[in-house]
Amino acid sequence: MAKVSIDRLKKTFGSAVAVSDFSLDIADGELVAFLGPSGCGKTTTLRMIAGFIEPTTGTIRIGDDDVTRMPVHKRNTGMVFQRYALFPHMTVSQNVLFGLEMHKVEPTERDKRMRTALDMVRMSSFHDRYPRQLSGGQQQRVAIARALAIQPRVFLLDEPLSNLDAKLRLEVREEIRDLQRNLGLTTIFVTHDQEEALAIADRMAIMYDGKIQQIGSPEELYERPDNLFVADFLGKMNFFEGKVSEAGKFITTSHQREIFIDGTERNVQKIGVRPERITLSAQPQGSNALTGVVDTAIYLGSILDVRVRLDSGEFVSAQLPNRGSEHAQHISEGARVHACFEPKDCVLFSE
């Protein structure tokens, strides 16, 4: 296992810039997720690290080695592909043995490692089956075993769960996380599914339009997004436009409502509040209480998703935990409520 250092990686295809100014240091044993919408450059970056694409400029180091121009087969990065990519003409065990043979592992040791790898993913009993005889989830597990058998320095996963159905996705995701922790694998996990990323990453790099938007732990990114894209991409956020009138006070553009915020930051154009931070009550509570009327209240089982039409005309989304019908009596369509939140719940943006 090794650390990975990426420095100002850039990739252009003709005049199109796929990835620009990508810099990241991944610690030994850390799982970093590359998250972002389609076309944001996350897969391109991963493939540059794997060696399938040559960067235009920038460097990639694995451990102490500069691998930027190193051919794929010499990098010793184990990769799991979105559509499994098992060798169809080989059995499960032959698939796993292939990498070991390429790495010139001694025959007896080869066999041992193959069995260990298959045991890790609980696919030992399928060792002489062919990929076409396996289900998607089983094939993916074999692909994981195959990548891990060679004891790679870095473990790369390219949207490994997107071809699996919902229930299986959770299962395999947990297995990957457990394996990764137990083996202390430095791992890069590419996905477009934020829940996936939030669930397993030590740190996440959110990408958009070829650039890193923010890097941090799931909590950092969710609670303290750096920019509007990250704020909006992870979960939902209510935005208010306006400007700071004096320290601690934010005046909204529409209807000049006053919102109390933390800190002395003056250059604030927007503030954001997460729906789960808003409580709805008949009486004003706390520092900020915006009046409005309940527009829709959707019962989602464990939560209540409420849209409130503020008197100032905007809509805010509030997410309330389901505490039972007595607690939600005042939440019905047309009811007058106060949307309440604290200054610390406000995230400040200068755009």
């Binding site: 990519a85 060798f87 195959r146 229930k167």
Partner: protein
């Protein structure tokens, strides 16, 4: 729909996770059942229409009488004996067999190499080359046959040696038949290969060369085998191209059958035809194991 499932069933169902088939055809009872029945009967009739010539050929080959007459007075195998001992047919069979084997082996070698060159290495004008290699399929067999015949005559004059009616001349022309089918089959297979499989091999430590020989080529094996068998059939049953290129004492089985049929229709020729049907039918069935023939044709 109100059906209870056992818990274990649910678990295995979840484990057999969906390889989602695009557009599973909706299965519902036709509101007008007699239309469906009519449809099915029509389809059966059409199949009979397409297959009946072959059925009759085989049936006739067992008729006792030497002259075609319905109903047959009895059945016999003697015509088959005649078919396999008649020197004209035996020679024709052997010639066709030999030409088909050589033409398919050569054609496949050249065709596979060409496919690899065109697809793996995008060189300038590779689309043009691809079209060139597939062009024999567009030309009417008769036109190609007479054109080659005339060209051979010119070569004969030029080089003062026999070309027309020779074995080699026939084989060369047949190779031009097998190359396009090979290119078509192998190219289609190569395009259908999942590129991430080769990437996986390289990621696991295989360099380009190893990845090609250990991964790409084995994955192409079904297509290559199918191309060989298919080329064999195309060459063996060919008539139009070969017509102008055979000579005295050397002819192919289809031509021998045709020449006989122009004068005579009897159980003997039916037996010979039935043997050809059997041979090519078996090869076709074997080919189908390697590649879905319906997509090719």
């Amino acid at each position: 729909m109100g059906q209870l499932k056992q818990v274990s069933e649910l678990q295995t169902a979840a484990d057999a996770d969906a390889r989602i088939t695009p557009f599973p055809a909706p299965h519902r009872k036709s509101r007008v059942p007699w239309v469906a029945w009519l449809h099915r009967t029509f389809v059966v009739l059409m199949y009979l229409f397409m297959l009946s010539p072959l059925i009759f050929v085989v049936w006739l080959s067992f008729f006792k009488d030497a002259i075609l007459y319905f109903p047959p007075s009895g059945y016999t195998l003697s015509w088959y004996h005649k078919a396999v001992t008649d020197s004209a047919f035996v020679n024709g069979f052997l010639t066709s067999l030999q030409v088909a084997i050589i033409a398919s082996l050569c054609g496949v070698t050249l065709g596979v190499a060409a496919s690899l060159g065109i697809i793996r290495y995008a060189f300038k004008g590779n689309n043009l080359v691809n079209t060139l290699l597939l062009s024999p399929l567009l030309v009417p067999g008769i036109v190609a046959g007479v054109a080659i015949y005339l060209a051979y005559l010119q070569v004969e004059n030029l080089l003062d040696m026999d070309v027309v009616g020779t074995y080699g001349g026939l084989v060369l022309a047949h190779i031009c038949l097998t190359i396009p089918w090979t290119v078509r089959l192998v190219s289609a297979s190569m395009h259908g290969l999942d590129p991430s499989i080769v990437e996986a091999a390289r990621n696991l430590g295989a360099n380009s060369r190893v990845a090609f020989w250990r991964i790409t080529l084995p994955m192409l094996r079904p297509a290559i085998v199918a191309a060989t068998l298919f080329s064999f059939v195309v060459s063996f049953e060919n008539l139009e191209l070969s017509l102008s290129l055979v000579g005295p004492g050397r002819t192919t089985l289809p031509i021998a059958i045709m020449q006989y049929l122009e004068f005579n229709l009897d159980p003997t020729i039916a037996a010979v035809s039935a043997i050809q049907i059997l041979l090519l039918g078996v090869v076709m069935l074997v080919t189908d194991r390697f590649v879905k023939l319906s997509q090719v044709v």
